[in-house]
Symmetry: C2
């Protein structure tokens, strides 16, 4: 039962009405028996300072930060984790007795969602996208020990920036941009065992599109990861699955980045049992209207 | 289930950890099937501005304001109801699309808690206390049409101020201060059919005290109201009951002022059935550890 001692967590974003975080986090809260509740706030860019100051004034224990505020919120916090400083973005604010500290849990979420992390050690990865999500994935890839990273984004400048960050910030030696997809793409795909989509291609309204339309060079030796989780299987993953490749969507990444936020706020070692993880997946698929 | 569309309400105060408002309001919310949740924030005086600005920034729909912020919050709101302007205090802030409006629901709560309002019409009332609670009660008494109001408080200056407010602000013609309780108190009590305690006497740590220690002049013609609800029956009410007087504590006042806040925030005509009111009383007595 909610009482005057119940802690409040919330997600801020613009828009926010479709966020799944409240459903997911309140499920965690009930699974772990925490005395807390998680809601959502629609916050405009011009209100970010008042929002963070209000968090401090009201003793709101934790906020998740989502699009489009992950970078814009940083000037208003008191401290930022090393990862946040490196990535220039945060998705988690912790109220540490009036001191607001920014964290980013997306790289952890990606890493934790992988069943076989060893697959990444010394491997080559082709990463589609150079935005915020791709940046978090690239950071995780560096930590996972990938050997070669090739990045493609429609905006060349963003690609160049992420390549530079991967080299200078994340310490990846062999990182390059794949500027022109049409050229030797098939060859690159054939030689690169891990393909990751960190763009919005495959998600509504681009649900009839795939980052790779010609899956001929993909084989059962490939691992194809799509950060999109709605639809549960994008066209990219459906096509990849037909080639015998291993596939995975971004639902578990979403779950594990959220769980990590809750750990940061509570300072508790919260671990989901396989059953609990299954429950959370189920409830989120229900919310998304995903059947499979 | 809480989602990104669930509205947030909360109570602010200092201290706040023992507030019953979250338990009461969440029970209302569930009884009326509202998509909302109610928590509590510990807000210090120096953080009131940031709190109200944060309420605006985060789109928090409603706040209750309790001790010691009922007056101090007023400089930071955008608008105040007529009652708030008259009483100089608010217990309810409504976020009307970014515009924060202050209301006070305590007078309504007092009025609504009375089974027999007609008892007050043209009656005489002896009111103990001249603080914020007494002010709200006096305002309600004026609206109920009392003929004669006598006010006593240990601090003479507060009494004088409230007497002046009752005359000049509330339009009560016959209002006076009972400065010295020892003198003709018994006579006044015998002649005044309604006795109201709006002080902290009778509440812990003053639970062994009564605003009137000599109940000889009280009879079954009297109505004795104690704003204190914990203990459920103060010494004043226990002694009064023995004389055959009708007695009532402040629990229903608390319930109805809270219900009124919820109505203001939701713009809905929320009415408790007798069963629902009984449920709320029961759950609050449980929380308070009151048996009777």
């Amino acid at each position: 039962m909610i009482s005057a001692r119940t802690k409040l967590f919330a997600v801020i974003g613009d828009p926010i009405a479709h966020s799944l975080s409240p459903v997911m986090q309140n499920r965690f809260i009930s699974q772990f028996g925490l005395d807390a509740v998680y809601t959502a706030f629609h916050v405009k860019n011009s209100d970010l300072r008042a929002c963070v100051d209000g968090m401090r004034a009201m003793g709101i224990r934790g906020l998740n930060v989502t699009v489009p505020h992950k970078e814009a919120v940083l000037p208003f916090v008191d401290q930022a984790s090393e990862e946040v400083q490196l990535l220039g973005a945060a998705n988690t604010l912790k109220n540490d007795d009036g001191r607001i500290i920014a964290f980013v849990t997306d790289p952890y979420g990606f890493e934790q969602s992988l069943a076989e992390k060893s697959r990444f050690k010394d491997a080559g990865v082709l990463l589609f996208g150079a935005g915020g999500a791709a940046k978090s994935v690239a950071f995780a890839l560096a930590r996972l020990g990938v050997k070669k990273l090739i990045i493609h984004d429609l905006v060349d400048e963003k690609t160049r920036e992420l390549v530079a960050l991967c080299r200078d910030g994340f310490g990846l030696a062999d990182v390059s941009a794949l500027a022109d997809l049409s050229a030797d793409l098939n060859e690159v795909i054939a030689e690169t065992p891990i393909l990751i989509n960190a763009t919005a291609v495959g998600m509504h309204p681009l649900h009839e599109k795939s980052v790779i339309e010609d899956l001929a060079p993909v084989s059962k030796k490939h691992f194809c990861f799509d950060l999109v989780y709605n639809p549960g299987k994008t066209k990219f993953l459906r096509l990849a699955e037909k080639t015998g490749a291993a596939v995975q969507n971004g639902l578990d990444m979403l779950i594990f980045q959220g769980l990590k936020s809750l750990r940061i706020w509570t300072d508790e070692e919260l671990e989901l049992t396989p059953d609990q993880l299954g429950q959370v997946r189920r409830i989120m698929k229900e919310q998304l209207g995903i059947d499979e």
